[in-house]
Protein backbone atom coordinates (compact mmCIF):
# COMPACT_ATOMS: atom_id res chain seq x y z
CA UNK A 1 0.00 0.00 0.00
CA UNK A 2 1.46 3.36 -0.91
CA UNK A 3 2.09 5.43 2.16
CA UNK A 4 1.99 9.13 2.76
CA UNK A 5 4.99 11.36 2.44
CA UNK A 6 6.69 11.07 5.80
CA UNK A 7 10.14 12.61 5.82
CA UNK A 8 11.87 12.78 9.18
CA UNK A 9 12.11 16.33 10.52
CA UNK A 10 15.58 17.85 10.69
CA UNK A 11 15.28 19.14 14.25
CA UNK A 12 17.25 22.38 13.63
CA UNK A 13 19.00 24.23 16.43
CA UNK A 14 16.71 27.23 16.30
CA UNK A 15 13.85 26.91 18.76
CA UNK A 16 10.63 25.93 17.00
CA UNK A 17 8.80 28.81 18.67
CA UNK A 18 11.20 31.35 17.17
CA UNK A 19 10.96 29.67 13.79
CA UNK A 20 7.17 29.67 14.00
CA UNK A 21 6.95 33.34 14.93
CA UNK A 22 9.53 34.27 12.28
CA UNK A 23 7.49 32.45 9.66
CA UNK A 24 4.38 34.28 10.78
CA UNK A 25 6.11 37.66 10.57
CA UNK A 26 7.55 36.73 7.17
CA UNK A 27 4.15 35.66 5.83
CA UNK A 28 2.49 38.86 7.04
CA UNK A 29 5.30 40.95 5.53
CA UNK A 30 4.90 39.23 2.17
CA UNK A 31 1.15 39.72 2.35
CA UNK A 32 1.73 43.45 2.84
CA UNK A 33 3.90 43.81 -0.27
CA UNK A 34 1.82 45.72 -2.82
CA UNK A 35 0.83 43.87 -5.97
CA UNK A 36 3.28 44.34 -8.78
CA UNK A 37 6.27 45.01 -6.52
CA UNK A 38 8.20 42.17 -8.05
CA UNK A 39 11.58 43.27 -6.74
CA UNK A 40 10.43 43.19 -3.11
CA UNK A 41 8.83 39.81 -3.70
CA UNK A 42 12.06 38.57 -5.25
CA UNK A 43 14.01 39.67 -2.18
CA UNK A 44 11.54 37.79 0.03
CA UNK A 45 11.88 34.69 -2.13
CA UNK A 46 15.67 34.91 -1.91
CA UNK A 47 15.49 35.28 1.87
CA UNK A 48 13.29 32.22 1.99
CA UNK A 49 15.69 30.23 -0.17
CA UNK A 50 18.56 31.28 2.13
CA UNK A 51 16.57 30.15 5.16
CA UNK A 52 15.94 26.81 3.48
CA UNK A 53 19.65 26.44 2.83
CA UNK A 54 20.50 27.35 6.42
CA UNK A 55 18.00 24.85 7.81
CA UNK A 56 19.38 22.16 5.51
CA UNK A 57 16.10 21.21 3.87
CA UNK A 58 16.60 19.24 0.67
CA UNK A 59 15.26 21.43 -2.18
CA UNK A 60 13.55 18.49 -3.92
CA UNK A 61 11.58 17.61 -0.77
CA UNK A 62 10.64 21.22 -0.20
CA UNK A 63 9.64 21.74 -3.83
CA UNK A 64 7.65 18.52 -4.01
CA UNK A 65 5.53 19.56 -1.04
CA UNK A 66 5.26 23.09 -2.33
CA UNK A 67 4.14 21.93 -5.78
CA UNK A 68 1.39 19.89 -4.13
CA UNK A 69 -0.16 23.17 -3.02
CA UNK A 70 0.70 25.25 -6.07
CA UNK A 71 -2.48 24.32 -7.93
CA UNK A 72 -4.52 25.74 -5.06
CA UNK A 73 -2.40 28.89 -5.03
CA UNK A 74 -2.84 29.32 -8.79
CA UNK A 75 -6.60 28.89 -8.55
CA UNK A 76 -6.72 31.46 -5.79
CA UNK A 77 -4.81 33.93 -7.95
CA UNK A 78 -7.14 33.42 -10.90
CA UNK A 79 -10.31 33.75 -8.85
CA UNK A 80 -9.27 36.74 -6.75
CA UNK A 81 -7.74 38.43 -9.80
CA UNK A 82 -11.16 38.65 -11.44
CA UNK A 83 -12.55 41.17 -9.02
CA UNK A 84 -9.39 42.81 -7.66
CA UNK A 85 -9.26 46.66 -7.84
CA UNK A 86 -5.70 46.52 -9.20
CA UNK A 87 -6.99 44.76 -12.31
CA UNK A 88 -7.45 48.10 -14.05
CA UNK A 89 -3.76 48.87 -13.63
CA UNK A 90 -2.11 45.45 -13.97
CA UNK A 91 -4.68 43.53 -15.95
CA UNK A 92 -6.28 40.25 -14.90
CA UNK A 93 -3.25 38.14 -15.75
CA UNK A 94 -0.93 40.54 -13.94
CA UNK A 95 -3.04 40.56 -10.78
CA UNK A 96 -3.50 36.80 -10.87
CA UNK A 97 0.24 36.25 -11.33
CA UNK A 98 1.10 38.69 -8.52
CA UNK A 99 -1.37 37.10 -6.10
CA UNK A 100 -0.19 33.61 -7.05
CA UNK A 101 3.45 34.63 -6.59
CA UNK A 102 2.85 36.21 -3.19
CA UNK A 103 0.94 33.20 -2.01
CA UNK A 104 3.53 30.87 -3.42
CA UNK A 105 6.23 32.56 -1.32
CA UNK A 106 4.06 32.43 1.80
CA UNK A 107 3.12 28.79 1.25
CA UNK A 108 6.78 28.06 0.59
CA UNK A 109 7.65 29.50 4.00
CA UNK A 110 5.05 27.37 5.75
CA UNK A 111 6.13 24.27 3.86
CA UNK A 112 9.74 24.98 4.81
CA UNK A 113 8.78 25.31 8.48
CA UNK A 114 6.81 22.06 8.52
CA UNK A 115 9.48 20.17 6.60
CA UNK A 116 12.27 21.34 8.87
CA UNK A 117 10.56 20.89 12.21
CA UNK A 118 7.87 18.25 11.82
CA UNK A 119 4.44 18.20 13.36
CA UNK A 120 5.51 17.20 16.90
CA UNK A 121 7.83 20.14 17.43
CA UNK A 122 5.38 22.59 15.88
CA UNK A 123 2.46 21.41 17.99
CA UNK A 124 4.61 21.70 21.08
CA UNK A 125 5.74 25.16 20.01
CA UNK A 126 2.12 26.23 19.54
CA UNK A 127 1.25 24.93 23.00
CA UNK A 128 4.23 26.70 24.58
CA UNK A 129 3.29 29.88 22.79
CA UNK A 130 0.00 29.76 24.64
CA UNK A 131 -2.36 28.53 21.93
CA UNK A 132 -5.48 27.09 23.62
CA UNK A 133 -5.14 23.35 24.34
CA UNK A 134 -8.32 22.37 22.42
CA UNK A 135 -6.92 23.99 19.29
CA UNK A 136 -3.59 22.18 19.65
CA UNK A 137 -5.44 18.90 20.27
CA UNK A 138 -7.58 19.48 17.21
CA UNK A 139 -4.50 20.08 15.07
CA UNK A 140 -2.90 16.89 16.41
CA UNK A 141 -6.14 15.06 15.67
CA UNK A 142 -6.18 16.42 12.14
CA UNK A 143 -2.62 15.30 11.53
CA UNK A 144 -3.49 11.80 12.72
CA UNK A 145 -6.37 11.45 10.26
CA UNK A 146 -4.62 13.03 7.30
CA UNK A 147 -2.68 9.77 7.12
CA UNK A 148 -5.84 7.68 7.27
CA UNK A 149 -7.49 9.78 4.55
CA UNK A 150 -4.35 9.66 2.43
CA UNK A 151 -4.37 5.87 2.69
CA UNK A 152 -8.03 5.83 1.76
CA UNK A 153 -7.30 8.07 -1.23
CA UNK A 154 -4.48 5.76 -2.31
CA UNK A 155 -6.74 2.72 -2.09
CA UNK A 156 -9.41 4.45 -4.15
CA UNK A 157 -6.85 5.57 -6.75
CA UNK A 158 -5.52 2.04 -6.96
CA UNK A 159 -9.01 0.60 -7.39
CA UNK A 160 -9.79 3.20 -10.03
CA UNK A 161 -6.58 2.47 -11.89
CA UNK A 162 -7.31 -1.25 -11.75
CA UNK A 163 -10.56 -0.67 -13.63
CA UNK A 164 -9.35 2.05 -16.00
CA UNK A 165 -8.16 1.39 -19.52
CA UNK A 166 -7.59 5.07 -20.16
CA UNK A 167 -7.53 7.83 -17.60
CA UNK A 168 -6.70 10.85 -19.74
CA UNK A 169 -8.91 13.59 -21.15
CA UNK A 170 -11.98 15.14 -19.66
CA UNK A 171 -13.26 11.75 -18.50
CA UNK A 172 -10.13 11.39 -16.35
CA UNK A 173 -10.81 14.73 -14.70
CA UNK A 174 -14.44 13.77 -14.20
CA UNK A 175 -13.30 10.57 -12.50
CA UNK A 176 -10.93 12.53 -10.27
CA UNK A 177 -13.77 14.83 -9.27
CA UNK A 178 -15.97 11.88 -8.40
CA UNK A 179 -13.15 10.34 -6.42
CA UNK A 180 -12.70 13.54 -4.43
CA UNK A 181 -16.44 13.63 -3.76
CA UNK A 182 -16.43 10.04 -2.58
CA UNK A 183 -13.42 10.76 -0.38
CA UNK A 184 -15.22 13.71 1.14
CA UNK A 185 -18.29 11.59 1.96
CA UNK A 186 -16.09 8.88 3.43
CA UNK A 187 -14.28 11.47 5.52
CA UNK A 188 -17.61 12.70 6.89
CA UNK A 189 -18.71 9.17 7.74
CA UNK A 190 -15.34 8.46 9.31
CA UNK A 191 -15.73 11.58 11.40
CA UNK A 192 -19.10 10.37 12.67
CA UNK A 193 -17.66 7.01 13.66
CA UNK A 194 -14.65 8.57 15.37
CA UNK A 195 -16.91 10.80 17.40
CA UNK A 196 -19.04 7.79 18.34
CA UNK A 197 -15.93 5.90 19.44
CA UNK A 198 -14.90 8.85 21.60
CA UNK A 199 -18.34 9.17 23.16
CA UNK A 200 -18.34 5.42 23.81
CA UNK A 201 -15.31 5.96 26.05
CA UNK A 202 -16.96 8.65 28.07
CA UNK A 203 -16.10 11.81 26.13
CA UNK A 204 -18.72 14.46 26.83
CA UNK A 205 -17.99 16.66 23.85
CA UNK A 206 -15.90 19.10 25.85
CA UNK A 207 -12.12 19.59 25.74
CA UNK A 208 -9.84 16.87 24.48
CA UNK A 209 -6.89 15.93 26.68
CA UNK A 210 -3.76 17.84 25.54
CA UNK A 211 -1.36 15.96 23.24
CA UNK A 212 1.82 14.41 24.60
CA UNK A 213 5.05 16.14 25.49
CA UNK A 214 7.57 16.82 22.73
CA UNK A 215 9.84 14.05 21.52
CA UNK A 216 7.67 11.36 22.97
CA UNK A 217 6.16 10.12 19.78
CA UNK A 218 7.98 7.60 17.69
CA UNK A 219 7.19 5.65 14.58
Amino acid sequence: MPSTDSIAPLRPRIDARIALLTTLVFAVSVALIPLGQWRALGVAALALAAAGGYLGVAPEVWMRRWLGLSLLVGMLGLLVGLGHPARAELGWAGVAAAIAAKNAVMVGAVVLLSTAYGIDALLDALRRLGLPAPLVSTLAFMERYLHVLADERDRMLLARRARSVRSGGWRGWLDRGRLLGALFVRALERGERIEAAMVARGWDGQDLPPPSAPGRRRS
Binding site: R144, V148, E192, I194, A197, R201, D204, P211
Partner: protein, 279 residues
Amino acid sequence: MTNERPEANPAVRVSGLVFHYADGRPALRGVEMAIESGESVALIGPNGAGKSTLLWHLNGLLPGRRGLGLGHGHGPNAVGVGSTSADGPCVWIDGLPVTPKNYREIRRRVGLLFQDPDDQLFSPTVLEDVAFGPRNQGLPAAEAERMARDCLERVDLADAADRVPHHLSFGERKRACLAGVLACGPSVLALDEPTANLDPRARRRFIELIGGLSATRLIATHDLEMVLDLCPRSIVLDRGLVVADGPSMELLADARLMESHGLEVPYRLRECDVGPGRS
Protein backbone atom coordinates in the same frame (compact mmCIF):
# COMPACT_ATOMS: atom_id res chain seq x y z
CA MET B 1 -42.74 -1.64 29.39
CA THR B 2 -42.23 0.32 32.57
CA ASN B 3 -39.47 2.45 34.01
CA GLU B 4 -38.97 0.03 36.85
CA ARG B 5 -35.90 -2.14 36.97
CA PRO B 6 -36.51 -5.71 35.91
CA GLU B 7 -36.67 -8.09 38.86
CA ALA B 8 -33.54 -10.00 37.96
CA ASN B 9 -30.47 -8.02 37.07
CA PRO B 10 -28.66 -9.72 34.24
CA ALA B 11 -25.51 -8.05 32.96
CA VAL B 12 -27.38 -7.05 29.80
CA ARG B 13 -31.11 -6.96 29.33
CA VAL B 14 -32.81 -5.83 26.15
CA SER B 15 -36.56 -5.76 25.93
CA GLY B 16 -38.73 -4.60 23.04
CA LEU B 17 -35.94 -2.65 21.40
CA VAL B 18 -37.06 -1.08 18.15
CA PHE B 19 -34.99 1.20 15.98
CA HIS B 20 -35.35 2.65 12.51
CA TYR B 21 -32.66 4.15 10.33
CA ALA B 22 -33.09 7.75 9.30
CA ASP B 23 -34.51 6.69 5.94
CA GLY B 24 -37.24 4.72 7.69
CA ARG B 25 -35.83 1.24 7.19
CA PRO B 26 -36.26 -0.90 10.30
CA ALA B 27 -32.97 -1.88 11.91
CA LEU B 28 -34.21 -3.52 15.11
CA ARG B 29 -37.78 -4.78 15.35
CA GLY B 30 -38.36 -5.68 18.97
CA VAL B 31 -35.17 -7.32 20.16
CA GLU B 32 -35.46 -9.37 23.35
CA MET B 33 -32.47 -10.86 25.10
CA ALA B 34 -30.70 -11.20 28.43
CA ILE B 35 -27.09 -12.02 29.15
CA GLU B 36 -25.98 -13.10 32.60
CA SER B 37 -22.87 -11.74 34.26
CA GLY B 38 -19.71 -13.48 33.06
CA GLU B 39 -21.36 -15.03 30.02
CA SER B 40 -19.67 -14.99 26.64
CA VAL B 41 -22.28 -14.74 23.90
CA ALA B 42 -21.92 -14.53 20.14
CA LEU B 43 -24.21 -12.29 18.15
CA ILE B 44 -24.34 -13.72 14.66
CA GLY B 45 -26.34 -12.99 11.55
CA PRO B 46 -25.99 -11.81 7.97
CA ASN B 47 -24.78 -8.38 6.93
CA GLY B 48 -27.38 -5.76 7.75
CA ALA B 49 -29.03 -7.89 10.43
CA GLY B 50 -28.67 -5.10 12.99
CA LYS B 51 -25.76 -6.49 15.01
CA SER B 52 -23.69 -3.30 15.16
CA THR B 53 -26.81 -1.21 15.73
CA LEU B 54 -27.67 -3.39 18.71
CA LEU B 55 -24.15 -3.04 20.15
CA TRP B 56 -24.33 0.75 19.79
CA HIS B 57 -27.53 0.73 21.84
CA LEU B 58 -25.82 -1.06 24.72
CA ASN B 59 -23.42 1.85 25.08
CA GLY B 60 -26.11 4.49 24.66
CA LEU B 61 -24.70 5.71 21.35
CA LEU B 62 -28.09 5.14 19.77
CA PRO B 63 -30.61 6.54 19.39
CA GLY B 64 -30.02 10.23 19.10
CA ARG B 65 -26.99 10.35 16.83
CA ARG B 66 -27.04 12.12 13.52
CA GLY B 67 -25.18 11.00 10.46
CA LEU B 68 -24.43 7.55 9.13
CA GLY B 69 -28.13 7.24 8.54
CA LEU B 70 -28.47 6.21 12.15
CA GLY B 71 -30.02 9.14 13.86
CA HIS B 72 -33.45 10.14 15.05
CA GLY B 73 -35.09 7.49 12.99
CA HIS B 74 -37.74 6.01 15.21
CA GLY B 75 -40.84 4.71 13.56
CA PRO B 76 -44.34 5.28 14.90
CA ASN B 77 -44.15 2.28 17.20
CA ALA B 78 -40.50 2.56 18.02
CA VAL B 79 -39.19 2.65 21.54
CA GLY B 80 -35.66 3.92 21.69
CA VAL B 81 -33.19 3.63 24.49
CA GLY B 82 -33.23 6.80 26.44
CA SER B 83 -36.16 8.12 24.49
CA THR B 84 -38.58 10.33 26.29
CA SER B 85 -41.35 7.99 25.36
CA ALA B 86 -43.73 7.04 28.15
CA ASP B 87 -42.74 3.47 27.43
CA GLY B 88 -39.35 4.11 29.02
CA PRO B 89 -36.00 2.42 28.49
CA CYS B 90 -35.54 -0.96 26.88
CA VAL B 91 -31.87 -1.70 27.59
CA TRP B 92 -30.41 -2.24 31.06
CA ILE B 93 -26.83 -2.85 32.05
CA ASP B 94 -26.52 -4.57 35.42
CA GLY B 95 -30.01 -3.29 36.13
CA LEU B 96 -29.17 0.29 35.26
CA PRO B 97 -31.40 1.62 32.45
CA VAL B 98 -29.58 3.06 29.48
CA THR B 99 -30.93 6.59 29.54
CA PRO B 100 -29.20 9.94 29.01
CA LYS B 101 -29.11 10.48 32.76
CA ASN B 102 -27.01 7.32 33.15
CA TYR B 103 -24.82 7.61 30.06
CA ARG B 104 -21.69 8.44 32.01
CA GLU B 105 -21.97 5.33 34.18
CA ILE B 106 -23.20 3.18 31.28
CA ARG B 107 -20.15 4.10 29.20
CA ARG B 108 -17.91 3.19 32.09
CA ARG B 109 -19.63 -0.19 32.38
CA VAL B 110 -19.90 -1.06 28.70
CA GLY B 111 -16.73 -1.20 26.62
CA LEU B 112 -17.46 -0.99 22.90
CA LEU B 113 -14.80 -2.18 20.47
CA PHE B 114 -15.29 -0.83 16.96
CA GLN B 115 -14.68 -2.89 13.88
CA ASP B 116 -12.25 -0.46 12.25
CA PRO B 117 -9.40 0.44 14.61
CA ASP B 118 -8.83 3.72 12.77
CA ASP B 119 -12.23 4.85 14.01
CA GLN B 120 -11.11 4.32 17.56
CA LEU B 121 -7.44 5.32 17.65
CA PHE B 122 -7.46 9.06 17.21
CA SER B 123 -4.71 10.26 19.55
CA PRO B 124 -1.16 11.12 18.50
CA THR B 125 0.28 8.21 20.51
CA VAL B 126 -1.01 4.81 21.58
CA LEU B 127 -0.56 5.62 25.27
CA GLU B 128 -2.61 8.81 25.01
CA ASP B 129 -5.34 6.95 23.23
CA VAL B 130 -5.54 4.20 25.81
CA ALA B 131 -5.55 6.82 28.57
CA PHE B 132 -8.42 8.69 26.90
CA GLY B 133 -11.16 6.69 28.66
CA PRO B 134 -9.68 6.98 32.16
CA ARG B 135 -9.10 10.70 31.63
CA ASN B 136 -12.76 11.09 30.70
CA GLN B 137 -13.66 9.29 33.89
CA GLY B 138 -11.91 12.07 35.75
CA LEU B 139 -8.72 10.29 36.75
CA PRO B 140 -5.61 12.44 37.16
CA ALA B 141 -3.17 12.27 34.24
CA ALA B 142 -0.60 10.17 36.15
CA GLU B 143 -3.18 7.64 37.30
CA ALA B 144 -4.71 7.43 33.82
CA GLU B 145 -1.28 6.85 32.35
CA ARG B 146 -0.56 4.10 34.85
CA MET B 147 -3.82 2.38 33.95
CA ALA B 148 -3.10 2.79 30.27
CA ARG B 149 0.33 1.21 30.65
CA ASP B 150 -1.19 -1.70 32.59
CA CYS B 151 -3.71 -2.30 29.82
CA LEU B 152 -1.08 -2.09 27.12
CA GLU B 153 0.88 -4.69 29.06
CA ARG B 154 -2.21 -6.92 29.10
CA VAL B 155 -2.51 -6.82 25.33
CA ASP B 156 1.22 -7.25 24.88
CA LEU B 157 1.80 -3.76 23.53
CA ALA B 158 3.84 -2.23 26.33
CA ASP B 159 6.62 -1.38 23.87
CA ALA B 160 4.24 0.49 21.60
CA ALA B 161 3.10 3.06 24.19
CA ASP B 162 4.82 6.00 22.53
CA ARG B 163 4.26 4.89 18.97
CA VAL B 164 2.10 6.68 16.44
CA PRO B 165 -1.09 4.62 15.82
CA HIS B 166 -0.79 5.03 12.07
CA HIS B 167 2.46 3.10 12.08
CA LEU B 168 1.14 0.06 13.92
CA SER B 169 0.14 -3.07 12.05
CA PHE B 170 -3.58 -3.77 11.76
CA GLY B 171 -3.37 -6.46 14.44
CA GLU B 172 -1.47 -4.13 16.76
CA ARG B 173 -4.04 -1.41 16.21
CA LYS B 174 -6.81 -3.84 17.10
CA ARG B 175 -5.01 -4.72 20.32
CA ALA B 176 -4.41 -1.06 21.10
CA CYS B 177 -8.15 -0.49 20.70
CA LEU B 178 -8.87 -3.36 23.07
CA ALA B 179 -6.47 -1.82 25.59
CA GLY B 180 -8.33 1.48 25.25
CA VAL B 181 -11.60 -0.28 26.02
CA LEU B 182 -10.16 -2.26 28.93
CA ALA B 183 -8.71 0.91 30.45
CA CYS B 184 -12.27 2.09 31.10
CA GLY B 185 -12.72 -0.91 33.42
CA PRO B 186 -15.92 -2.20 31.79
CA SER B 187 -17.98 -5.05 33.21
CA VAL B 188 -19.53 -5.71 29.79
CA LEU B 189 -17.58 -5.92 26.55
CA ALA B 190 -19.41 -5.37 23.28
CA LEU B 191 -17.05 -6.39 20.50
CA ASP B 192 -17.91 -5.61 16.89
CA GLU B 193 -16.23 -8.02 14.46
CA PRO B 194 -13.10 -8.33 16.58
CA THR B 195 -11.29 -10.68 14.20
CA ALA B 196 -12.31 -9.07 10.89
CA ASN B 197 -9.38 -8.46 8.51
CA LEU B 198 -6.81 -10.01 10.82
CA ASP B 199 -4.26 -12.46 9.45
CA PRO B 200 -4.37 -15.96 11.02
CA ARG B 201 -1.63 -15.29 13.57
CA ALA B 202 -3.04 -11.95 14.66
CA ARG B 203 -6.52 -13.50 14.76
CA ARG B 204 -5.36 -16.34 16.97
CA ARG B 205 -3.60 -13.90 19.28
CA PHE B 206 -6.67 -11.69 19.50
CA ILE B 207 -8.92 -14.65 20.25
CA GLU B 208 -6.59 -15.70 23.07
CA LEU B 209 -6.72 -12.18 24.46
CA ILE B 210 -10.49 -12.03 24.39
CA GLY B 211 -10.71 -15.51 25.87
CA GLY B 212 -8.59 -14.40 28.82
CA LEU B 213 -10.94 -11.58 29.81
CA SER B 214 -13.31 -12.07 32.68
CA ALA B 215 -15.92 -9.48 31.69
CA THR B 216 -19.31 -10.36 30.24
CA ARG B 217 -18.85 -10.51 26.47
CA LEU B 218 -21.21 -9.96 23.57
CA ILE B 219 -19.35 -10.56 20.34
CA ALA B 220 -20.89 -9.59 16.99
CA THR B 221 -19.08 -11.65 14.40
CA HIS B 222 -19.08 -13.69 11.22
CA ASP B 223 -16.13 -15.71 12.49
CA LEU B 224 -18.04 -18.82 13.51
CA GLU B 225 -14.88 -20.79 14.24
CA MET B 226 -14.07 -18.17 16.87
CA VAL B 227 -17.58 -18.50 18.24
CA LEU B 228 -16.95 -22.19 18.88
CA ASP B 229 -13.77 -21.28 20.79
CA LEU B 230 -15.11 -18.42 22.87
CA CYS B 231 -18.87 -18.44 23.13
CA PRO B 232 -20.88 -21.29 24.65
CA ARG B 233 -24.03 -19.42 23.67
CA SER B 234 -25.08 -17.74 20.43
CA ILE B 235 -27.86 -15.39 19.44
CA VAL B 236 -28.88 -15.30 15.79
CA LEU B 237 -30.11 -11.90 14.66
CA ASP B 238 -31.71 -11.42 11.26
CA ARG B 239 -33.61 -8.42 9.90
CA GLY B 240 -33.65 -6.85 13.33
CA LEU B 241 -35.12 -9.82 15.17
CA VAL B 242 -33.66 -12.50 17.42
CA VAL B 243 -34.47 -15.66 15.47
CA ALA B 244 -32.56 -18.18 17.60
CA ASP B 245 -30.85 -18.22 20.97
CA GLY B 246 -29.12 -21.24 22.42
CA PRO B 247 -25.94 -23.29 22.80
CA SER B 248 -23.47 -22.45 20.04
CA MET B 249 -22.68 -26.08 19.34
CA GLU B 250 -26.31 -26.79 18.56
CA LEU B 251 -27.19 -23.62 16.66
CA LEU B 252 -24.07 -23.56 14.56
CA ALA B 253 -24.43 -27.22 13.60
CA ASP B 254 -27.98 -26.65 12.39
CA ALA B 255 -27.45 -26.35 8.66
CA ARG B 256 -31.01 -25.29 7.91
CA LEU B 257 -30.93 -22.50 10.48
CA MET B 258 -27.53 -21.31 9.35
CA GLU B 259 -28.36 -21.26 5.66
CA SER B 260 -31.75 -19.65 6.09
CA HIS B 261 -30.08 -16.72 7.84
CA GLY B 262 -27.15 -16.21 5.52
CA LEU B 263 -24.65 -18.20 7.59
CA GLU B 264 -22.75 -21.44 7.18
CA VAL B 265 -22.08 -24.36 9.45
CA PRO B 266 -18.47 -23.91 10.61
CA TYR B 267 -15.95 -26.28 9.11
CA ARG B 268 -15.36 -27.99 12.44
CA LEU B 269 -19.03 -28.98 12.71
CA ARG B 270 -19.63 -30.03 9.13
CA GLU B 271 -19.94 -33.71 10.05
CA CYS B 272 -22.45 -33.11 12.85
CA ASP B 273 -26.16 -33.50 12.28
CA VAL B 274 -28.14 -31.97 15.05
CA GLY B 275 -31.55 -32.08 13.50
CA PRO B 276 -34.21 -29.70 12.29
CA GLY B 277 -33.64 -25.98 12.26
CA ARG B 278 -35.12 -23.78 14.93
CA SER B 279 -36.54 -20.37 14.78
